[in-house]
């Protein structure tokens, strides 16, 4: 008998590699910071057995073509390890499948948001569909029970951190709030 949904570890049947010598002075510094952030965040939160598998899977995007499995696994990690909420995961998956240029940028925006708000907010990754025009994009909603007075300032700082990396990409991601209470 198997029970789902679940939070748990992944089997570690693949050999674990380490990536300690990735040069963080790389020109695409935001991407290097993303790797650094995830390493740091997980090393301070989770035991090594789960960490190694996460790092291995996440860093598979380096040197391999991003594919459907990479995207799905990463979203699962956001849900399981960083507590992200997905109202309609299928929409997010489909959007990222077709806009792979912003895949790791999306992870970067997610980790920045989680770092800023963490347990003080519900963080939800959704696909926003403009009701007026044919436009849709990914949105990270930050929702709090009691909104911090400087929440917009904090959100703006996050957007500023990753926005320039979207230049030339077809896809788009926004961090915002709708000032609603956290959803069930």
């Amino acid at each position: 008998m198997t029970e789902y949904p679940v939070i748990g570890f992944y089997g570690n049947y693949r050999p674990t590699r380490t990536f300690d010598n990735i040069p963080f002075e790389d020109p695409e510094t935001w991407r290097a910071r993303l790797y650094g952030h995830i390493d740091f965040r997980l090393q301070n939160t989770f035991v090594e057995s789960s960490l190694s598998e996460f790092i291995f899977n996440f860093k598979d995007i380096v040197g391999n073509t991003i594919n459907a499995a990479t995207i799905e696994q990463s979203l699962l990690y956001l849900q399981h390890y960083l507590g992200f909420r997905f109202s309609h995961p299928g929409e997010v998956i489909d959007y990222l499948q077709k806009h792979r240029g912003i895949y790791d940028l999306t992870l970067y925006a997610c980790t920045l948001t989680e770092e800023e708000f963490g347990s003080r907010a519900q963080i939800s990754l959704e696909l926003y569909k403009d009701p007026e025009i044919d436009d849709q994009y990914l949105t990270i909603y930050v929702r709090q029970n009691e909104y911090e007075p400087d929440i917009i300032k904090k959100i703006d700082a996050i957007c500023k951190e990753y926005a320039s990396a979207m230049t030339g990409e077809e896809g788009y991601i926004l961090v915002t709030t709708d000032f609603h209470p956290p959803l069930e």
């Binding site: 008998m1 198997t2 789902y4 679940v6 748990g8 590699r17 380096v62 309609h88 995961p89 299928g90």
Partner: protein
Amino acid sequence: MKYKNPPIVEAICEFRFSKETKWDLTIPGSVYEKVKDQFPNKENRLEQEVILKAGETGVNQDLVASQKALMLSSDRSSLIQVGQHLLSINHLKPYVGWESFKPKIQMAYDTLSEITEINGIDRMALVYIDRIEIPGNRIHMEDYFKFYPHLGAELPQDHNSFMVGVQLPYHNNRDFCKLQLTSAMATKKDHVAFLMTTEYSLAKKNAIPSDKALEWMEAAHAIIRQLFKGCITEKLEDIFVRLD
């Protein structure tokens, strides 16, 4: 084996050519010129590749930036990627079948062959990624899969997330097929989800001459099809709804 609700979310055909294949920065642009009717959207992507090198102090890793050109169909459901000594053809859902995917592979491969002489294939692979969603919160894996994590009678029978994989050798280890099943994020309420990845690849450099590459792909596809059928039960096929 045709389904009304096929589980395939992505099919990938990838070629990595040997260093003896002449390559220059004009190749992606030349490929685009020839395929732009079918793949009109062109994007460039800077990716980073980890190069593993064995040295006196063990295995070292270098991170090398590489540019990849992506040529996408107008609905973005299929794409051709051209990078340094790399050609990849991807098809996302809706996947309408090998009969439709194969001509795209053939067209991309022939196009590249017209632009540069292919002198050796280091690696090639055909990959299918299936997303499987099953209604229910608790299921018996064995009802739906013939390939799944088996827990002996003395072990707890309830389990959480998992990843199981096996590498199967073919043709005296010339080819490998990696079969992997992992848990995934359910997109429907009260469903459980799984990702099944079947990756058939050439394990020995230059074991297949470049003019036989597409024959190899055809054979790879037949094996993947057989393996997929071998991994699932009729009960799971009922969810996909067989058409033939």
